[in-house]
């Protein structure tokens, strides 16, 4: 009983920090997806140079641990801006650095998700689009994307959930999201009640991920009639 009371108490302390988690995550998801889309398109492009550049970018970013990425952005970017543009961005809200780091981190796997989804759509769909006079982009946007979207969704959800949980990264430079808040609560209790704190944290995340799953299955269900997959 005590435990449940404690967990509810911690929930109350953690929930205010959900703002930061959501702001940071949503902005990085939106920006990262756009960047990822661009990258995927670049990787599928005809130009060898572009393909190579995008390939190197994706390889390097995917191999970069979150903590290193945040240090690179938090310390590297101000240096670069100072050196090249002679502007001082040291004073930026630290949340911006987090969003930038997460956007970059998110874009690489997302570009791969999109590339594989795009390639899973039969070539004939693009050809048919071109033959009714649509441009490649129009065909992509109206025919390929909706089909690839459904293929990409489960993987996209994987990445989104991973991103949501990247609290360690925000905390590294002192931005207090839910994970950071949980750590601070534990610390301020001299390390006690960690179980109950993390339980509360896990609960919140679980609810978020359940909501994501729900949305996902709704979209997939609505699309089921349009495709003939091995599913019954």
């Amino acid at each position: 009983m005590d435990n449940i009371k404690l967990i509810i108490n911690f929930l109350g302390q953690l929930l205010p920090a959900i703002n930061i988690t959501l702001i940071v995550s949503l902005s990085s998801i939106v920006l990262g997806s756009l960047l990822g889309l661009l990258l995927a398109a670049t990787r599928l492009s005809e130009s060898i140079v572009l393909r190579l550049l995008a390939g190197v970018y994706v390889s390097v970013i995917r191999a970069t641990p979150a903590i290193i990425m945040i240090f690179v952005v938090y310390y590297g970017m101000p240096m670069v801006f100072n050196g090249w543009f002679h502007t001082n961005i040291d004073g930026w809200n630290r949340m911006y650095f987090v969003i930038i780091a997460l956007t970059v981190l998110f874009s690489a796997p997302v570009s791969e998700i999109m590339r594989s989804a795009y390639e899973s759509i039969a070539k004939g769909q693009m050809e048919a689009g071109l033959m009714v006079g649509m441009t490649p982009f129009q065909t992509f946007y109206r025919i390929i994307l909706p089909q690839a979207f459904v293929v990409a969704l489960p993987n996209f959800a994987n990445s989104v959930v991973n991103l949501l949980k990247e609290g360690a990264l925000t905390f590294t430079i002192g931005v207090v999201d839910m994970v950071a808040k949980a750590q601070m609560i534990v610390a301020n209790n001299s390390g006690g009640f960690a179980w109950q704190t993390y339980c509360a944290l896990a609960l919140i995340y679980w609810v978020i991920s359940l909501a994501i799953d729900k949305g996902l299955s709704l979209v997939e269900k609505s699309y089921q009639a349009k495709r003939k997959t091995i599913a019954v």
Binding site: L38, A41, L44, S45, E46, S47, S59, R62, A63, T64, P65, A66, I67, I68, F71, P109, E112, I113, R115, S116, A117, E119, S120, K123, M126, P136, F137, T139, F140, Y141, I144, V151, A152, P154, N155, A157, N158, S159, V161, N162, K165, G167, V179, W195, Y198, C199, L201, A202, Y205, W206, I208, S209, L210, D213, R227, K228, T229, I230, A231, V232
Partner: protein, 250 residues
């Protein structure tokens, strides 16, 4: 600010002992979770009664909760429980086994979704054709469906693997000494964490790149039957270029 290069060399030398540990965790987790991921994906796709809800629950729970919370359970609570059953021996279990468990559980959740999406890219007709030449659904699945699904799965398995490689550093909470752990321990004496992290980064770059190459080769192998989008058509499907590029001169 200058970097302590001597220290970096030293870290590089010691941290290399962590490479096999990292690889072990990744390999064990992958090898176990790949088949289970496929199985779970099938349970969800074919809506196996009873099991399907269980799998859905499992995925949302494991995927949705922070790894730290899972480590708490597996590393802290589980051995204490075991202690009550088998006594002190429970405490002499090498912590790397706990790492295997945590990361395998996590990969299973991720890979279930990867395969679920990939398997659904395969046309139903492929399964039907298999059944109609007398193959069992199981045989058709392994020989026809899965190889085709892998094309779309592999880039995402690669994503999951790289994520796993990086996240395996969390095993340090369980006192498993992977690359990051060793580098951090080295840095503890002189607080040169920046240098230590840079060295770690290089190691991850190398390991991840190796993994990427392997996955790329697999992807190429499994997609060999496809009409390549490039080369043979010479056309650019780059969706953002309104202008088509020049055709390739042969």
């Amino acid at each position: 600010m200058s970097l302590n290069t001597d220290f970096m060399v030293k870290v590089a030398q010691t941290a290399i002992q962590g490479v096999p540990v990292t690889l072990q965790i990744v390999l064990v987790a992958l090898l176990i979770s790949l088949p289970i991921g496929v199985l779970f994906a099938l349970i969800r796709i074919y809506r196996v009664k009873g099991l399907q809800r269980l799998v859905q629950f499992y995925v949302s729970l494991v995927r949705g909760t922070p790894i730290i919370a899972q480590i708490l359970i597996v590393y802290s609570a589980f051995p204490s429980l075991l202690n009550m059953i088998i006594g002190k021996a429970a405490f002499s279990i090498n912590p790397i086994y706990y790492a295997y468990i945590v990361f395998t559980f996590n990969s299973i959740a991720t890979l279930t979704e990867v395969f679920r999406s990939a398997l659904q890219t395969v046309d139903k007709g492929q399964m039907e054709a298999g059944l109609m030449v007398g193959m069992q659904p199981r045989q058709t699945f392994w020989r026809i469906i899965l190889p085709q699904a892998l094309i779309s799965a592999l880039p995402n398995i690669a994503n999951a693997t790289l994520y796993l490689i990086k996240n395996s550093s969390l095993a340090f909470i369980m006192s498993v000494k992977d690359i990051t752990a060793i580098a951090k321990t080295e840095a503890a004496f002189n607080y040169n964490f920046l240098e230590a992290y840079l060295v770690v980064w290089v190691y991850y770059l190398i390991i991840c790149y190796g993994a990427e190459i392997i996955f790329y080769l697999f992807e190429r192998y499994f997609s060999k039957y496809r009409r390549p989008i490039k080369n043979r058509t010479g056309f650019n499907w780059f969706p953002f270029s309104i202008k088509q590029p020049k055709l390739e001169q042969k």
